[in-house]
């Protein structure tokens, strides 16, 4: 059985400078992987290239064995790979309900059930269904961005720093929700800076530095790893 998501030799250029270099990884159905690393390591470029938002200079991306390397972002989304982008990219004037409807309608027309499912997962959103997305708090916006991604009925979900800029209490709420999503059998790829969030959600991790994978292993070993500390804090601080 092919992997849910298989990335092979992915390279990305930004302004002619390589920001991701020959990166490969694979996720089995229902698995969860964290991409760790300091800012500028190439994590965001990786997930955006996988989702079709950034052009790839080399490499292939396969979703359940099907090559999606050359598809546009909207085609990738319709094929069942959803990204929750770092800046969320919500529609500020849309209400919560309308945002989710927009995502539900993009593919084949579907009904009320999916909407109900999403509101069950995010009770906070259900109570604000008529409020404009732009007026929600940061945490609620993040939930809406995740809800919108789920409304496209993905088989693989990519999350780019879902907890950035959020207060500690909101972060723990979000972690609970992400664990619940995992619990439903979703295949997850999460980009995180916060190692405890990553550990709560993912089993395995890849640590990136300057566009390359510098460490791979189980999430539980990551915090002890000197490579991880090196990637975050620089040279001799690994001790």
């Amino acid at each position: 059985m092919p992997s849910a998501l298989e990335v092979e030799g992915l390279s990305v250029l930004r302004l002619r400078i390589p920001v991701v270099h020959a990166l490969s990884f694979a996720l089995a159905q229902g698995a969860s992987l964290a991409l760790l690393g300091a800012n500028g390591a190439g994590k965001t470029s990786t997930v955006e290239a996988v989702a079709g938002l950034l052009p790839k200079s080399a490499g292939s991306v396969r979703l359940h064995g099907r090559d999606i390397s050359r598809l546009s972002a909207s085609e990738v989304a319709r094929n069942g790979l959803a990204l929750v982008p770092q800046l969320r990219d919500l529609f500020p004037s849309f209400s919560v309900d309308e945002t989710l409807q927009a995502a539900l309608n993009a593919g084949a027309p579907r009904g009320r059930r999916q909407l109900q499912d999403i509101y069950e997962l995010f009770p906070k959103l259900a109570s604000r269904r008529d409020q404009a997305a732009g007026t929600l708090s940061g945490g609620e916006q993040q939930m809406l961005a995740i809800g919108r991604a789920l409304a496209t009925e993905p088989s693989v979900l990519l999350l780019d720093e879902p907890t950035s800029g959020l207060a500690a209490g909101v972060v723990s709420d979000l972690v609970g929700i992400l664990r619940a999503i995992r619990g439903r059998g979703m295949t997850l790829l999460i980009v995180e800076q916060n190692i405890s969030v990553a550990a709560a959600v993912a089993d395995d991790c890849i640590v990136m530095a300057t566009g390359r994978a510098v460490w791979r292993g189980a999430m539980s070993d990551a915090a002890e790893s000197s490579e991880v500390r090196h990637a975050y804090f620089g040279a001799q601080l690994a001790s």
Partner: protein, 597 residues
């Protein structure tokens, strides 16, 4: 010494001014009708040159050229017939009225951008034509107005060739002035404003006034052209200046090319001559024009001039300046004793709706220090930086630069207090040379200073040489001296970041804000930029405040750091001490113990 001028005088100043004379010389060999046509061509050359300033350099879609021509033409004709003013004296009057019209039109320019501005010019156009139509006692209304023939003293100019001589002789000096303004610092500053208002604002350019000045100069020249046109068309009627003509004139700089004055001259010539040359296919003229313009937009963004330049060997682009300059080692600016900190920020707050982006931050940077601000994404670092630079007004709090309170002052005055900055997304002017980019960093960017220095540059004054030498020295200080004359847009990202540094240091500031100075550059370049910053700090005694995500870089460079999270400062002090604090680890890294558990 520094012999090279920053303006190619022959190619971009003398040459354009001679263009009307050249057309006149050509006309000498043709018959009367051709001389008549070529007279009109010279007028439209001038209009094209003037439109380069608005359309090309200010990036405004000008739909009121017809109205400006009308203002000049009617002003000249009315002044001659009503007041008996000699024709030659009506020319400057027409230009003055045009400038006035330009200023009236440009008032909205300070408020709008893009299509709203285009529509404001359209409104102006339509209102002027309605005004002419309705004020019939003065203008003859829809019936038209007889324009008296041109005369110099007792001599009435009627023949086509004499008219052409007069037009060319009058147009040449105006083209010369336009060429000097466009090629000189005035034009460069205009291009800089269009490329990055943010950067210009940070270096003391008053963007609003700059745009108004461009409208005034350009409209004056167009109205002047209108006054030249009046005796040639004989009967002025409002329809011949309507919006359709404005649109066609808009085509001049687009078809010709918007990067320098030649584009307007060539565009005006080609589009004015085309109807004559296309006479056999008479009815298709406008269709061919439209197809031509659309084709240029799609396939030839540089216009005819850009196309020709691309074909010609790229001499200037590849040429590396061999300026041998005894680079004056800039002495650190003499300062009063370091009693006050370089920067003192107290209790800054800034919120956006529900989001408290900066929540009561206080910070002091000692003179000569290199201080880093780090923190996870969304911590509020960029907002804090923008508040310090004056781009964003804080809700609360004070900012002192070397003991002067500045929080209520606009960003463009920061440079006068000795503070400059660089930008996360490099804000350079891609089509200006590196040297010209750095010159903007010298400040002194008011309209009068830029206008005056446009003229002075041509003469190669001492003051100007000093400025160029200072800019060259700044380029040398960042290791870009060999790229002085290369367009900034062709540099690598790392070198563009160096260029921003050169622009930031050229005015000898005492404090530089560096916004992610190594974001996006290669690993090796990151090291070299770090060394460069260290040496600038040491040699020039310049204080530095740095936002950077790259912690290894901050660690290698900064004496002290502050850590921000969720809008607050959570820790401050020396790097090693701060980074080990549990609170910093928590915000950055999460809870490592929880992972182990």
């Amino acid at each position: 010494m520094f012999r090279r001028r920053s303006v190619p005088v022959i190619a971009n100043v003398i040459g354009p001014a001679l263009a009307p004379m050249l057309i006149m010389a050509v006309a000498f060999f043709f018959g009367s009708y051709a001389q008549y046509v070529l007279g009109l061509v010279v007028v439209h050359c001038l209009i094209g040159a003037a439109l380069v300033m608005i359309v090309g350099y200010t990036r405004v879609i000008m739909l009121a050229a017809g109205a400006m021509v009308a203002i000049g033409a009617y002003a000249s004709a009315i002044l001659m017939s009503r007041t008996g003013l000699p024709y030659l004296l009506t020319l400057p009057c027409a230009a003055f009225l045009g400038a006035l019209g330009g200023i009236i039109l440009a008032v909205p320019a300070s408020r709008f951008r893009g299509h709203h501005l285009a529509m404001a010019t359209m409104v102006f156009q339509v209102l002027v034509i309605i005004g002419i139509r309705e004020w019939s006692e003065l203008t003859g209304g829809a019936l038209g107005l007889r324009a008296p023939p041109a005369s110099i003293g007792a001599l009435t100019i009627t023949s086509d060739f004499a008219s052409l001589v007069l037009i060319a002789a009058a147009a040449a000096p105006v083209v010369l002035v336009l060429a000097i303004l466009l090629a000189g610092r005035f034009g460069k500053t205009l291009r800089a404003v269009s490329a990055s208002e943010l950067a210009c604002d940070a270096f003391g350019v008053d963007i609003t006034r700059m745009r108004i000045a461009a409208f005034a100069f350009s409209s004056a020249a167009i109205a002047f052209a209108g006054a030249l046109l009046a005796p040639r068309v004989r009967i002025l009627d409002p329809d011949s200046f309507d919006i359709v003509h404005s649109v066609i004139m808009l085509g001049y700089p687009i078809v010709g090319g918007m990067s320098n004055i030649w584009g307007g001259l060539v565009g005006g010539t080609v589009l004015q001559l085309a109807p004559e040359l296309l006479r056999p296919v008479g009815r298709y003229q406008e269709i061919i024009l439209a197809i031509f313009v659309i084709g240029v937009m799609l396939a030839m963004p540089g216009g005819l001039i850009g196309f020709a330049q691309a074909l010609a060997p790229r001499e200037q682009r590849d040429e590396v300046s061999r300026v041998t300059l005894a680079a004056p080692v800039l002495a650190p600016t003499g300062e009063e004793p370091a009693s006050r900190p370089a920067l003192s920020v107290f209790n800054i707050r800034k919120s956006y709706d529900a989001l408290q982006a900066v929540d009561g931050v206080s910070l002091q940077i000692e003179r000569g220090a290199i201080h880093g601000v780090i923190g996870p994404n969304g911590a509020g670092k960029t907002t804090l930086f923008n508040v310090i630079s004056g781009f964003i007004a804080p809700d609360q709090g004070t900012i002192e630069l070397f003991g002067t309170k500045v929080e209520a002052q606009p960003s463009r005055t920061r440079i006068a207090h000795g503070m400059t900055r660089t930008f996360q997304n490099v804000a350079i002017v891609g089509d200006l040379s590196c040297l010209d980019n750095v010159v903007i960093g010298l400040g002194e960017n008011s309209i009068w200073q830029t206008t005056l220095s446009s003229f002075v540059e041509i003469l190669g004054s001492l003051r100007n040489r000093e400025r160029l030498a200072a800019a060259q020295a700044a380029l040398a200080a960042v290791g870009l001296e060999q790229y002085a004359l290369v367009p900034a847009g062709s540099l690598s990202l790392g070198n563009q970041r160096r260029l921003e540094l050169a622009r930031a240091i050229v005015s000898r500031p005492r404090l530089i804000l560096l916004d992610e100075p190594v974001s996006g550059v290669s690993h090796e370049e990151e090291k070299r930029l770090g060394e460069l910053l260290r040496s600038l700090n040491a040699q020039r005694a310049v204080t530095m405040l740095i936002i950077e995500h790259n912690i290894a870089f901050v660690r290698a460079l900064c004496d002290t750091i502050s850590v921000m999270a969720a809008g607050r400062l959570v820790a401050q002090g020396e790097f090693e001490a701060v980074i080990g604090l549990p609170v910093v680890r928590y915000h950055y890294f999460g809870d490592a113990d929880a992972v182990r558990a």
